[in-house]
């Protein structure tokens, strides 16, 4: 559905994007992760045909974003990292205006607006002025705006930034519902744990270069070569460290705030062997759990070194 090939964007002597490539199949949610200035917004603006790339190609549903701009615009719903609302318009009028811009017939627009407001849970606020809404509600209206022409692809730039936890959960639910409706979604975000839950695919970008891309669990497994354990013991921390340190499967072990963090190579069998070694030595283990570093660890690793 979305294909990006060697996308390059150069400003002056600085490469905002340097041969970025990735693909997003239909009906997938692709998480686009990277620090500020990494090139996420630039990539999304090129995909939205708002920016001309210096090199490379990008396709939305087979249409080249540099050549078939009009066709691309009918296929995408773009939600930038700002609200972009007008004063003096109610929520319904705001959505009706964009529906009219997308040439939806007047007799259909009322139903479109009502359906979208129901989807984002804002039916009761349809007559409220847009600029008087809270940040979370504006974000929902903007999502509804991106959907007025029923696009197949959604490009969402930091949709969860600045939202409180409740609003984030609600946004996540809406995005899941949209995925269920057959939408392909690219979502850029800094909130990594949420992306792990929401996205099926991920791309980590840093300094304009794609550091890793693919299914979320593959990327995490590839970048976090060692697994980690969080172990709590009763009053025998030093003894536990003495037992764990010489084990061949243990790569690194240390005590952090009353918890032993052990990084090891191996699988679940190896983890159970580690637990067995502790209990056979008479160490009373109160908690033994794999550390779910996941995407956060993968992100830190990808953005801290050149992984190609």
């Amino acid at each position: 559905m979305i294909a990006v090939e060697d996308l390059t964007k150069i400003y002056g002597n600085r490469a905002a994007l340097d041969r970025v490539s990735f693909e997003v199949p239909e009906r997938e949610i692709f998480g686009f992760v990277g620090p500020n200035g990494a090139g996420k917004t630039t990539t999304l603006r090129i995909l939205a045909a708002l920016l001309q790339p210096t090199g490379g190609k990008a396709f939305i549903d087979g249409s080249d974003v540099t050549k078939d701009r009009e066709k691309v615009h009918t296929r995408i719903g773009y939600m930038p990292d700002f609200f972009g609302v007008y004063d003096q318009l109610t929520v319904a009028e705001y959505l009706d205006f964009y529906a009219a811009c997308y040439r939806q017939p007047k007799q259909r627009r009322r139903k479109i607006v009502d359906d979208l407001l129901a989807l984002v849970g804002m039916t009761e606020r349809k007559n409220q002025q847009v600029d008087s809404l809270s940040r979370g509600l504006k974000q929902r209206v903007c999502l509804a705006r991106a959907l007025v022409h029923d696009p197949a692809v959604l490009l969402l730039d930091e949709p969860a930034s600045g939202l409180d936890p409740r609003a984030r959960v609600e946004l996540r639910e809406i995005l899941r519902e949209l995925q269920g409706m057959g939408k392909t979604i690219i979502i850029s975000s800094h909130i990594l744990p949420e992306l792990t839950e929401l996205c099926s695919m991920i791309g980590i970008i840093d300094h304009g270069r794609m550091r890793a891309t693919g299914p979320v669990h593959d990327v995490i497994a590839r970048l976090t070569s060692g697994r980690r354990l969080h172990i709590r013991v009763l009053d025998e921390k030093d003894a536990a460290l003495e037992i764990l340190t010489p084990l061949p499967s243990i790569r690194h072990v240390e005590a952090v705030n009353g918890t032993i963090e052990a990084e090891y190579d191996g699988d679940e069998q190896t983890a159970s062997d580690i637990l067995l070694a502790l209990t056979q030595a008479g160490i009373r283990v109160s908690s033994f759990a794999p550390a779910d570093g996941g995407l956060e660890d993968a992100f830190m690793k990808a953005t801290s070194e050149d992984v190609g």
């Binding site: 150069i10 045909a49 001309q52 615009h73 609302v85 205006f97």
Partner: protein, 346 residues
């Protein structure tokens, strides 16, 4: 909806009407406009009655009142129009709504056209509501319907030109404040600067010419001279023209035979030349009996107001094309042909 209807009534126009008329600024602007125009009309009328009374005839009174009103109306619109249009595009940019419009099927030209149409509609509203004030002139006579219509046409085209230029600045400048300052600067240049040009760089003609020389064509960009000729029904003399071979003694002057009648030019105390008709007692635009057609130069045979309208339409068209070329986020042309060097491979 066909193409023409869509061009005239795109969603931008409807949205602009709705948002513009919901603020307190629009009714306030209309009120101030009417109060100022009515006020100046009343003040001029009162002043004319006090100074000259009806002695020179109600027709002259009506003509002078009309002259003041139409010039004041142009000056008012020169203040209002840039404010209406200078934020048209830059305001969308500042509000961060421009990208949202660019991803819709609305063409950049339609965005500009919608903004212009909405702004110009407000100007048209101001012109329409000023009609009752101007109709008072008919109580005194001296001005016919043709003069009123042509004066309103010149005024409307002037406002349109200022609007188009304002949108052009709004398109290229990121900030509304900068676009507003530039638009007011452009308004000053178009209205006063071109007049100043005529005063500083006049057309030089021999005093023995047999036709009334026209000021430099660029001075006709300003609506002031055309409006004066419309209101007074005589061409403006003594402006934008420098006579050579003027009688150095400053005596009886040198006789010219212009299209409308005899004319005398003589050296004025400040070193310039003052011309006056043989049939009028006052120099300048209060002469009567002269033809109002331009008799020399680029627009020979045209009325002043016709030349002004054409020149302003050319400026408007240029501003519109410039805006349409500059607005799209991905342009088909670039000012800088040289591409930036490629980044070094990591």
């Amino acid at each position: 909806m066909n193409t023409a209807t869509r061009a005239l009534w795109n969603p931008i126009v409807a949205k602009e009407y709705r948002t513009r008329m919901r603020t307190w600024r629009s009714p306030l602007a209309i009120t101030i406009y009417i109060v100022l125009l009515g006020g100046i009309g009343w003040a001029v009328f009162a002043a004319l009655i006090v100074t000259t009374g009806f002695g020179q005839g109600p027709g002259i009174l009506g003509q002078e009142l009309f002259t003041f009103l139409i010039l004041f109306q142009v000056a008012l619109l020169a203040f209002i129009t840039p404010a209406l249009t200078a934020g048209a595009i830059s305001g969308e940019r500042e509000r961060q709504t421009l990208d949202l419009l660019f991803v819709t099927p609305i063409a950049p030209f339609s965005i500009i056209w919608g903004k212009l149409l909405a702004s110009m509609s407000f100007v048209a509203l101001l012109l329409i509501i000023s009609v009752p004030i101007f109709s008072l002139v008919f109580l005194f006579g001296g001005v016919d319907l043709y003069q009123i219509v042509s004066a309103f046409l010149v005024t409307a085209v002037t406002a349109m030109t200022l609007g188009f230029v304002g949108v052009a600045f709004s398109t290229v400048m990121r900030r509304t404040l900068a676009a507003t300052v530039a638009s007011y600067g452009a308004a000053f240049v178009l209205l006063a600067g071109t007049l100043l040009w005529g005063a500083v760089f006049p057309t030089e003609v021999d005093a023995s010419v047999t036709t009334l020389p026209a000021p430099p064509a660029i001075t006709l960009v300003s609506p002031v001279i055309p409006l004066l000729t419309i209101a007074t029904n005589v061409p403006v003399t003594g402006y934008g023209v420098r006579y050579k071979n003027v009688n150095p003694n400053g005596g009886p002057g040198i006789l010219n035979s212009s299209g409308g009648g005899a004319q005398y030019c003589m050296a004025s105390p400040n070193g310039g030349v003052m011309c006056q008709s043989g049939v009028a007692t006052k120099p300048g635009f209060l002469q009567s009996g002269s033809a109002t057609a331009i008799q020399t130069g680029l627009f020979q045979g045209w009325q002043y107001w016709q030349a002004n309208v054409v020149m302003q339409l050319v400026i408007s068209l240029a501003a519109l094309l410039f805006s349409a070329l500059m607005l799209p986020p991905v342009r088909r042309f670039h000012f800088r042909g040289r591409r930036a060097p490629a980044p070094q491979a990591a």
